[in-house]
Amino acid sequence: MFEDLRDLYQEVIFDHNRNPRNFREMEDSNRKVEGFNPLCGDRMTLFLKVEGGIIQDASFQGSGCAISTASASLMTEIVKGMTEKEADEQFEILHKITTSEDEVENLEELGKLAVLAGVREYPARVKCATLPWHTLSAAIENKEASVSTE
């Protein structure tokens, strides 16, 4: 019944939705940012531990759809160990994946995030995929602890 939806809901996405990685509160985080999509009510909290410009640890909590949960889960896996600049570059890649008109095949070199390419067929769902990344961007821009709500 949903065969043609496989482009959007790939097995990897189901997997990350069922078992999100790094789905935990981080007690020793030094960045904490709330992400909110008022259109759908999705909320997430992103925790980062950044030392010497390197993202040592990343985790998240919150409630969201399969696309935003999988996107957040993938993101925390990918950016761990990256510099902030490298993490920012990944956001650009995601942006390209979700909005580009290029064939998905040509995007394979872009790595794990290519599984999110299906959202481009669903303009209303692009924000689901990008919410975690906007939150990451805010965490990177606000380098001081001021972004923490605590």
């Binding site: 809901y9 759908c40 399969a66």
Partner: protein, 417 residues
């Protein structure tokens, strides 16, 4: 795989297939599947007569209204004013002077807040609403309260999504200047005990406004019997075009209300020193109105009246009962809004599937449902859900479509498992 529930025949005389034939969009294919349109609470589709009314009016009758003496202007004016009479009859207002044409319910509530509200509600006064309101019956009052120093009071709801009447009553005070409640909730389907609310408020000389946006296509509304002071509704949920709606205000209140927007048509005479305002309802219709959609609203009311709002209500109630019974048998499906008195709205959440995923997946079965907060974020907060999926029924929906919906839901639960 669908649980075995027998469809209830709503009414033998109710010919849903004949009704469906009058809605051209229902022939559309969505992603290769037959369209199952269950997003009627957001907006419903238009019958051919309404679509034709727009085209015919532009082709044969169009001109500005209340202005010129030429034939077309007179013809356009007559059709425009005929639509006002049709609204009057549809909601049984005493006079067509009590009907103001506006863009829709939201504009109507804003008009009341900015005119009646500013003139009658001051510092320390109170406006009483309920916890199940749409944002359009919250924000205009918040804006008024911010400007005037008045206080917005909110009567709570119970876990079924019903107004807790005792607490509503307890919130009425000497400072309450207006009660504004939704007739039927868009997020929950709850039909409020509006007659009881009005009688209670009137016993303390408090006027009552009803937000009728959801109620109007599903319930017979008689403003004289209800004795409400204000009633607002939108045409687009009543098989009429978007961008047109009406506000009913009791004559004695409307006559005292200060004007809202200034401009042409709302004045009698203008000099640079002062202007004399037109009589009701024209005083509240500044500028060239939405002439064509107003005429088409009149056509839509004729269309609905011909089928009969009572017959439509009975059909939709049967659809709701059937859908509810099926939904309760699906493990992991929880209904949000289970009021005893409820209209044709099935709001739900699934244990393992987010409403947005439900919306996208059902779209792939050709099924249109709404996924989101339904412009009622406080309701979502109350039920501690970020959003719900909502199926809402109209005169043209069928039992077969509910089977397709429930099959789709069962399948997606399996896929997400």
């Amino acid at each position: 795989m669908t649980t075995n529930v027998q469809p209830i025949v709503s009414d033998e005389a109710y010919d849903v297939e004949a009704i469906r034939k009058q809605f051209p969009i229902l022939k559309e294919q969505i992603r290769g599947k037959k369209l199952v349109y269950l997003d009627n609470a957001a907006t419903c589709h238009k019958p051919q007569v309404v679509i034709d009314a727009i085209s015919n009016f532009y082709s044969h009758d169009y001109s500005n209204v209340h202005r010129g003496v030429h034939t077309l202007s007179e013809r356009a004016t007559k059709k425009y004013e005929d639509a006002r009479k049709k609204v009057q009859q549809f909601i049984n207002a005493e006079s067509s002077d009590e009907i103001v044409f506006l863009r829709g319910t939201t504009e109507a509530i804003n008009l009341v807040a900015q005119t009646f509200g500013k003139a009658n509600i001051g510092e320390g006064d109170e406006v009483l609403i309920t916890a199940m309101e749409h944002h359009s019956n919250i924000v205009p009052w918040q804006m008024l309260c911010k400007e005037s120093g008045a206080v917005l009071k909110v009567a709570p709801i119970n876990e079924k999504g019903e107004l807790i009447f005792d607490q509503f009553e307890a919130l009425i005070s000497d400072r309450t200047k207006l009660v504004s409640v939704v007739h039927m909730s868009n997020a929950l389907g709850t039909v409020n005990p509006v007659k009881k609310i009005i009688d209670l408020a009137h016993a303390k000389n408090i006027p009552v406004m009803l937000d009728g946006a959801q109620a109007i296509p599903h319930l017979a509304v008689d403003v004289q019997e209800l004795d409400c002071d204000f009633y607002a509704f939108s045409g687009h949920k009543l098989y009429a075009p978007s961008g047109i709606g009406a506000l009913y205000v009791k004559r004695e209140i409307l006559e005292k209300m200060p004007p809202w927007q200034g401009g042409g048509d709302m004045i009698r005479t203008v000099t640079f020193e002062k202007s004399e305002y037109n009589s009701i309802p024209y005083r509240f219709e500044a500028g060239t109105p939405n002439i064509v959609d107003t005429v088409a609203l009149g056509t839509a009311l004729d269309f609905v009246s011909e089928i009969g709002i009572e017959a439509i209500a009975k059909h939709e109630q049967a659809l709701l009962d059937y859908a509810t019974e099926k939904a309760l048998k699906i493990e992991g499906m929880r209904l949000i809004g289970t009021a005893e008195d409820k209209g044709a709205i099935l709001s739900f959440v699934l244990d393992k599937v987010h409403p947005h995923d439900i919306g996208t997946m059902l779209d792939h079965c050709g099924i249109a449902v709404r996924a989101g907060h339904h412009c009622a974020m406080p309701v979502m907060d109350f039920f501690e859900v970020p959003a719900t999926a909502r199926a809402s029924f109209a005169m043209y929906n069928t039992f077969e479509e509910i089977d397709i919906l429930m099959d789709g839901i069962e399948n997606l639960i399996e896929v997400f498992g």
